[in-house]
């Protein structure tokens, strides 16, 4: 994952700049082991990303897409269907979503992914079949009333 300015909190950005300065100094120092300098820098960056993420990114990571749907489905869908079909649908949703997030795709692409996978998830729960059947029944009923 590429780290951009907007991924880090303001304090995180200051620390990142300090780390970069220190890295430049250490790497230029011929007395220091370069492998060790690189390893130390990577470890520091890893800690920084974990502790100083920007709030919008934290929110996105704390609430991955489909969380609410999953919670609703957990209570309303049978265990087998939930664990097999719904979880598979959501896992594929996450796969595509995070891949697009890494590639920094635009809002339109992210929305398209959300819509497509929400539909797929709802189909996996079987709710849409129920709604379609109810719709057909109502249409038939209205036709009968109309022709009477």
């Amino acid at each position: 994952m590429k780290i951009k300015d907007r991924h880090l909190s303001p304090v995180g950005l200051i620390i990142a700049k300090e780390l970069l300065d220190k890295f430049d100094t250490d790497i230029a120092d011929s007395t220091k082991d370069k492998d060790h300098v690189i390893a130390e820098f990577e470890e520091n960056i890893r800690v920084l990303v974990k502790t100083h993420l920007s709030i919008p990114l934290q929110r996105r990571i704390q609430r991955p897409p489909g969380s609410l749907l999953l919670r609703v489905a957990e209570t309303l869908v049978g265990k087998k269907r939930f664990e097999r079909d719904c979880m598979a649908a959501l896992a594929d949703w996450h796969e595509e979503y995070f891949e697009a997030l890494d590639q920094e795709r635009g809002r339109a692409k992210m929305t398209a992914i959300r819509i497509r996978h929400t539909y797929a998830f709802l189909r996996a729960t079987g709710w849409l079949v129920g709604l379609e059947t109810a719709g057909k029944l109502i249409t038939k009923l209205l036709d009968k009333i109309g022709s009477a």
Binding site: A88, A91, E95
Partner: protein, 101 residues
């Protein structure tokens, strides 16, 4: 098991062919992408679930990959029965076991 296990729909046939032709396992979205729009996101999981009920395919949850942020994916592969049904289906004399619906 509610369905006749030897019945094979066109979508089920397509899924079985894809899973048999691939060397390893596949996940739902991968099948959708490789099917050239013949499989849809909206129907793939229902189809896969039904095929697993019939015993044509087997699935397992993928081990969480390092650095993965989402849920672990579900990987599918053809079962021995699925491979037998497909082989019968592809016999030139016609499908002795299967009935395309």
């Amino acid at each position: 098991m509610t369905d006749n296990p030897t019945r094979l729909s066109s979508l089920e046939l397509l899924v079985l062919k894809m899973l048999t032709n691939t060397s390893g396992e596949m996940y739902g979205l991968e099948m959708v992408e490789q099917s050239g729009k013949r499989l849809k996101r909206g129907t793939i999981y229902v189809t896969l679930g039904r095929m697993e009920d019939k015993g044509f395919i087997e699935s397992r949850k993928e081990k969480q990959r390092e650095g993965a942020r989402g849920l672990p994916r579900r990987l599918y592969k053809p079962s021995a029965l699925g491979q037998r049904v497909l082989a019968e289906w592809e016999m030139p004399s016609g499908a002795s076991m299967g009935v395309l619906v």
